[in-house]
């Protein structure tokens, strides 16, 4: 899973590329650690090239969402492939994380 983080004014753009599963979840968590430290988070996570997420991935997105909510920030995931969106839908995570 490749992670690219760019900041444009107050907004942070995150681009995900590849599969997110148990083999790379730890690295993914490390990659997004800078996002957890943002005092005023406003994140747009582009999932155009994200192929899959496992439960480990869901847990990391949940952790990120909690961090964002605790600071009154915003997080939105965009351009999700249907097979990835399905994972969020059938686990009820679409109710927790904003996906457009």
């Amino acid at each position: 899973m490749d992670v690219t983080i760019t900041k444009n004014d107050a907004k942070t753009f995150v681009v995900l590329n590849g599969r997110l599963d148990t083999t790379n979840a730890d690295q993914f968590q490390k990659d997004i650690t800078p996002l957890m430290e943002d005092p005023a988070p406003d994140f747009e996570i582009d999932c155009t090239e994200m192929q899959y997420t496992s439960s480990q991935g869901l847990r990391i997105f949940l952790m990120l969402q909690k961090s964002v909510s605790s600071k009154g920030g915003k997080m939105v995931m965009v351009n999700m492939k249907p097979q990835v969106k399905e994972v969020f839908d059938i686990t009820g995570f679409s109710n927790i994380i904003k996906i457009i």
Binding site: S54, S55, L62, V87, I90, T91, S94, I99
Partner: protein, 373 residues
């Protein structure tokens, strides 16, 4: 030493009191700190929420003005009771009495000099309604050998509602700014307004009482299981959720993949329940019982072929609503509407709705429905 006689045109005795005041300022400041901290502590301990808690030490100018007008009444600084003052502003009138009772327990109240201005009015008059207690800080609450006088000096504690505060503030402003005696016709208008505020205060307290009574009755009905008599609204739904009505289904769904359940609020689904026409908790409770097995079937169909071992606690009500909609003739549009309502509008919602419809086509509850037709 500063010459207060020249500065404010005071007589010798008042000037001496001014000197005492300046010399004792560190003590007054300390007293104010203690008062603020103790009041804050006791209000929190008694679960009393107030709009404001203010403390202050009288300013030099204000004291000089007072001594200029009424200096003949005081021999020493210890005769003044309002050098240090506190004001507690409440939401409701009954809370003023509650705070007064609390103050009576924690401070030493000088009853001779305390005034309940709320009881001072003639039957045909209105006006400044406030409760003023003159108190001392008892040694058992606070004692500092550096400032033993803190337990001797009296302070004034005003207790009033927010509306009484509005009245007092505006009345003071008008009186202060004009500096002249208010003509009778204007006084009548001020008194009319005071009467209205007094009535409004009473009404707010009465409305709160009625609302609390209603909430208690509803909670009793909910906990006794008499759901049919309980209208569905935000308040009753929250009480119902305390009974954890979705837990059984949720645990069953979680067991499919031995999944961890992440707790998340289901209240966004309240609007969906309204849209589906539910009017009482009884109807919601029946919907859960009548559709749990089918919702479980749907969840199993979606999850069993995956290794996803975390679910949101919203999944139970989500699947229940999906099943209910499908069994009542709803399709892609109705499901899309539900997802739009709960998760926010998104193009993916209609695809999600199609996916649910396709899954349901393979499940027994939808085929049962066809056979019934």
């Amino acid at each position: 030493m500063e010459n207060f006689a020249d500065k404010y045109g005071l007589d010798a005795r008042s000037s001496m009191i001014m000197s005492q005041y300046v010399g004792m300022m560190p003590l007054f400041k300390r007293m104010e700190e203690v008062l603020s901290k103790e009041l804050e502590h006791f209000l929190a301990q008694n679960n009393i929420y107030v709009t404001a808690l203010e403390t202050r030490v009288k300013t030099e100018e204000s004291l000089a003005g007072k001594l200029d007008k009424k200096g003949f009444k005081y021999d020493t600084i210890f005769d003044l009771t309002d050098i240090v003052g506190a004001r507690v502003i409440t939401f409701y009138t009954d809370e003023v009495d509650k705070i007064a009772a609390m103050v009576d327990r924690i401070f030493e109240v000088d009853w001779v000099n305390s005034i309940d201005k709320r009881k001072m009015h003639q039957l045909d008059s209105f006006g400044y309604n406030s409760l003023h207690y003159i108190c001392r800080i008892p040694k058992k609450m606070f004692f500092d050998p550096q400032y033993p006088e803190i337990n001797e000096i009296r302070f004034e504690l005003q207790m009033r509602t927010a509306l009484q505060h509005v009245w007092a503030t505006i009345n003071h402003d008008i009186g202060y700014k004009t500096g002249i005696e208010i003509p009778v016709e204007h006084l009548r208008n001020i008194n009319r307004l005071a009467g209205m505020l007094e009535l409004a205060d009473e009404q707010f307290s009465a409305i709160r009482q009625e609302f609390n009574d209603y909430r208690r009755r509803v909670q009793e009905l909910v906990s006794s299981g008499n759901f049919n008599d309980v209208p569905l609204n935000g308040d009753t739904f929250r009480s119902y959720l305390e009974l954890r009505p979705f837990d059984k289904l949720l645990k069953k769904i979680a067991a499919v993949n031995q999944a961890e359940i992440h707790n998340s609020s289901v209240t966004p689904y309240l609007n969906v329940l309204f849209d589906l026409g539910f009017k009482t908790l009884g109807e919601v409770d029946r919907m859960i019982h009548e559709n749990s097995e089918d919702a479980y079937q749907l969840a199993t169909f979606q999850l069993a072929m995956t290794d996803l071992d975390i679910i949101s606690s919203t999944i139970a009500i989500q699947d229940l609503c999906e099943v209910y909609i499908l069994k009542h003739g709803g399709g892609v549009d109705a499901l899309t509407e539900m997802f739009d309502k709960v998760n926010g509008k998104s193009e993916g919602n209609s695809m999600r709705a199609e996916s649910v419809v396709n899954a349901a086509k393979q499940l027994s509850f939808m085929n049962r429905k066809k056979l019934e037709k």
